[in-house]
Symmetry: C2
Subunit: 353 residues, 2 copies
Amino acid sequence: MAPKPAERAETQVDKPLLSVLRGTRRDPPPMWMMRQAGRYLPEYRALRQDKGSFLDLVYDADAAAEVTLQPLKRFPKLDAAILFSDILIVPFAIGQNLTFVTGEGPRLTPPLIGADLDDLTPYLARLEPVYETVRKVKAGLEPDKALIGFAGSPWTVATYMVAGQGSRDQSEARRLAYADPAKFGELIARIESVTLDYLSGQVEAGAEALQLFDSWAGSLSPAQFEQWVIAPTARLVAELRSRHPEVPVIGFPKGAGGKLSAYARETGVNAIGLDETVDPAWAAEELPEDLPVQGNFDPLALIAGGEELTSAVKHILDAFAGRPHIFNLGHGILPDTPIAHVEQLIALVKGAK
Amino acid sequence: MAPKPAERAETQVDKPLLSVLRGTRRDPPPMWMMRQAGRYLPEYRALRQDKGSFLDLVYDADAAAEVTLQPLKRFPKLDAAILFSDILIVPFAIGQNLTFVTGEGPRLTPPLIGADLDDLTPYLARLEPVYETVRKVKAGLEPDKALIGFAGSPWTVATYMVAGQGSRDQSEARRLAYADPAKFGELIARIESVTLDYLSGQVEAGAEALQLFDSWAGSLSPAQFEQWVIAPTARLVAELRSRHPEVPVIGFPKGAGGKLSAYARETGVNAIGLDETVDPAWAAEELPEDLPVQGNFDPLALIAGGEELTSAVKHILDAFAGRPHIFNLGHGILPDTPIAHVEQLIALVKGAK
């Protein structure tokens, strides 16, 4: 099938992020920052004041698109926008109620430690407003910038759905997975299915790459990691690839440590995100040759600035000079990050060569 | 220098744990469980009721010795006792006040985010009662069982001293380490020095092996890991070795993931403890050949029991069959662990061959 005109036009523009995700090395590397749209930006805090709850903001497509684009306006050398949304939109669509309690984080009710999946009434229309945001962002994006859509991985989303909130060590979900693997497996399958539709919807609305956030991949035993991280991710990536072969998927199994290599080999992701605890030199040796990597600057070193910043950036750039690399943080940027340090970081990565 | 009579007598008794720590493979492997003395045991809960605060119990040498020995009385196939105490005895001796708040965990005041080391008045006598516990345990221990002393690693102890309590992501200590490495370095040096005396005191009182708990080793960037985990641990291990060449040191850098191998090579520990997230097959390949390893059964799989328990135990035993191995959990045993599952685990490890 010949590409549609819009697709053909798109492929003619050089988007550094997408070319790296397809396996090309770039020098300097493309760059974006996890949570780059958010509380460290004064323009975000100004907009946020008028918008009610966090969920109201996510569901206001005009505002969410503006927030998504804010970091690219301030830092024109960034190479990608990432959709401003939340991984808990998927449980909300599966039928849990979602609220964000200031200072305490999200709450999903009823938590599945005390309820069954069958008690939930799906509201898949809760995904739709996000697609409108994606369309608006795409319309406002410079042609050399890429638009990244995202979702949580099934395991990480399940940890919140089971506990009803963030939880230390993800103990509730890990316990349920041991105690009732059938029930837990149904939950993972349901999340997988809704996430597949959700990410497909983002692609159809204009997302050009996808990231799967597996924030709690680090808490599982090896057998559970195989069963609840690698297997569902592999199925999701295979389905996405069959629907959208041109759209690369970045897997970000935070905290996976020594299991990163198995994740990289077995899930089929196009690229792997590394958290800030991973030694880039170790990763460069351990991971499959030519696999694009993303990361992994410590957000706390960004707050500190100075010599630590310079040397850690250099260490990362040097370690990954031999393979496709997207410069990023190893974790979301923190609210008290000085803007001047972000500018310094971007100049270091982009201006050095 | 010829060994003193007591030492000579000791070396004639075969202690499986010590022989593995010296590099011998044993089949079946020696076994103990982190937090094996504690809340999952009814006899512990019974004794605990009468003893006031947790700190009162730690400082009551008779009671602490009894608690230390309880698991060996109930499970005679365990190969070691580990001193019943707490890693925060060291900050208490450095001069912070220590309280245990039920349901909330320990509190150290003043936290060092708001105070200087110089504000603290050391009370090194606060270490002494622990040595009395060690002597009492040693006197009550069967001759084939080993007595393990322990302390927290400098980094992990520092995370509590800086924040004044447990903290998500150890962010306060990591921030201080970036913002004021001189102040943080002084803190680490102080902890190192007191820990060296503390562990030496335990050895002189009868401890035959030592474990360094580095519960929060997993949160650091690679450069900080080198500076605040590997370097202080290497110095401490070297000092201990020069004072007590016959006493092996087990390092337990929980969450170190891909940095385990660097830790094993660079710290000089005699053995390395692995947490439950580490794939034993990966570790067996990655770690220096013949290095004794300890671990790494998932405490949640022990609660679950059944088929998961059997297959995970077999996976661990098989993966480490080629090197010296001490069977252990990957983390402390949990209060709601069924005693019957512990019995099943011990039978599997000890009875299989």
